[in-house]
Symmetry: C2
Subunit: 344 residues, 2 copies
DNA sequence: ACTCTATTTGTAAGCGCTTACATCAATAAT
DNA sequence: ATTATTGATGTAAGCGCTTACAAATAGAGT
């Protein structure tokens, strides 16, 4: 019976409503330009045909996609989830759609995904951390795609960022640790290569040590990927050391959770025998026992502000300002004074 | 100084290489059709210009996007993360890109996102659970976009699915609970409205009770959203009951983690005074203490198989087969026999 | 030498939409 | 009544790519 019914186009709607495609397009994009009566007729045709605009065609014609891309290092844990959720919600309110990919902490994958997102017509990009090859930034410039860095704050960087100072935040925690009396400090960090956040966190600990007249080089440091069992493994290694560190500062809550698990397995009491700290204050931090002393990062606030700034940039209302978010220490039960018997 | 340097197009590449746009296109899409020498010249032009194909144009011309869309209920926790990660990895291997949105468990948002993804030219869609309005499926059919349901398995459904029987899986756990001697069973379920997985899990518990000659209506049931503190709140309510349930079966590990937290706050010992069970076996389950007795869902396997099946459907190599994944009980420490003093 | 086939490349017609510009009608200003 | 102004709609030119088809070239078969 004639041709297969397939997805209706603008043209079909125009015919059904007895107007030109231009009018239909206007009804959809700037309704105020169309007189009420016509608009109703058109909208009705849209409804009854079940018309959905073809996005690719729209992007191509308008050179605008109302899409924002975000590339995060991983979806595997909750570190980025909460901030991103808020980012998305905020974008949606402004009429943008969020496209997310994850790079698995691999710069090459990230580069490819940036190209993909740009090729897809993303109006703007959210990236995590500053550190990446210069040619990527050039590429973005050439394609005139504004980008915003999040989860990091660096007023000196050429690129705008909304985030916090990883160094200061971790430094504050480290000072608290030192003030509690710890001298033998160990750290389980995420891989620092290509990850300025991880670098700055280590830096923060080192600086705090120096400021307290401790030898920053004496920091026992293990670098590993951000996985629970890697945290556990690193913790085991640290506990095998003599003398044992009295505190293990972890690069994030995930690693700290792994450390805590391993402590339980090893029969080492936290915080009586060793203290453990985290970073991020994701839900996990409160769930583990003992609950983690950690740095609270206001992820939602960051997501919201990033969305606002990035849309402003996309719409040409801002050339990109950096925004600093305040973190705050949250003391729970995984940090205590070192045990006198082992600490001296 | 001439016009601003902007993103190069196929045409620019063609000129630079001294060939037609068709040849360039072929170099990119079916290199075997182009003779070595020409290809090298073209590829060099591509390189030196830093050309990236415009995706929208390509989609429009080819009516094919090599993009798969997935709409998951939430990114807020790890329930879907792992399976999705594998899904994405597998897709990438086959040359597809994954686009993810989250619907916040809201059917209206989901509907909108399905339209968005289809409008964006997704070649196929991954959806979670079977239950949604018929018109959505019609819409997908009209646009000829194959869809696959995951995290659920129903051989009777008209739509193909790859997943597991939520009912049987939870039923098995419930039988174990009952076999351990529990009679006063409570359950904290996710909202069952529009969520067949939640429904089936409740159903599984009820069926197991009936089979053991317990009154299925006696199941104390609290429905709540899948958030840690909601789990905690529900648990508190349950503990206020007299007589107290001896076991609290949770709709997933997130709720169970909340329950465990609250138990600690209330000074109720798990599993000595109350047992708690989870579902999914996400990382969380092993981290909390006591570690959760739960149902292990092979998320990666599911993600992988879903990717394979969906790409086959997209490429017309399959009309959509349902695939059943096996779950398995994992006994850890949150389930024990009920305390004699309180259980009878 | 001549046709036939296979291989490589070019030509050009869209894909479905937006938007600058043209057109037309209706109202206001003279 | 005539012209200017405003507002609503139509016309048609692309946006950057793919691909059916045509053309050109080269080798094989006779």
């Amino acid at each position: 019976m004639g041709k297969t019914r397939s997805a209706p186009t603008l043209n079909d709607v125009a015919k059904a409503a007895g107007v030109s495609t231009a009018t239909v397009s206007r009804c959809l994009n700037s309704p105020e330009q169309v007189i009420e009566q016509t608009r109703r007729r058109v909208m009705q045709a849209v409804e009854s045909l079940g018309y959905t605009p073809n996005f690719a065609a729209r992007v191509m014609a308008a050179n605008r996609s109302f899409t924002i891309g975000a590339i995060i290092p991983t979806m595997d844990n909750a570190i980025f989830a909460r901030g991103l959720q808020e980012f998305q919600d905020q974008l949606r309110e402004s009429g943008y759609t969020l496209l997310v990919s994850s790079s698995a902490y691999d710069p090459e994958v990230e580069r490819e995904q940036i190209r993909t997102l740009v090729a897809r017509g993303a109006d703007g990009l959210l990236l995590i951390g500053h550190e990446r090859d210069a040619d990527i930034y050039e590429y973005l410039e050439r394609h005139q795609v504004p980008s915003l860095v999040a989860w990091s704050y660096d007023p000196d960087a050429k690129r705008p960022s909304v985030g916090f100072s990883n160094k200061d935040a971790m430094g504050e925690l480290a000072r608290t640790v030192i003030a509690a009396g710890h001298r033998r400090i160990a750290m389980i960090s995420g891989k620092t290569k290509g990850n300025d956040r991880a670098q700055n966190r280590v830096e923060g600990v080192r600086q705090a040590m120096s400021q307290s007249n401790l030898d920053a080089d004496a920091l026992t440091l293990i670098e590993t990927t951000y996985e629970i069992d890697k945290g556990a493994e690193a913790f085991r290694q640290l506990m095998a050391l003599t003398p044992r560190p009295t505190v293990v500062m972890c690069g994030n809550d995930v690693l700290a959770a792994g450390a805590l698990c391993e402590a339980r397995r090893l029969g080492i009491k936290v915080p009586e025998q060793v203290s453990v700290t985290g970073f991020d204050d994701i839900e996990l931090a409160e769930i583990v026992s003992p609950a983690l002393t950690t740095v609270h990062v206001p992820h939602r606030e960051m997501g919201r502000k990033a969305a606002r700034e990035l849309t402003a940039m996309v719409e040409g209302k801002s050339e990109g300002h950096s925004i600093c978010i305040n973190t705050r220490l949250v003391s729970r039960h995984s940090l205590a004074e070192p045990d006198c018997h082992t600490s001296q």
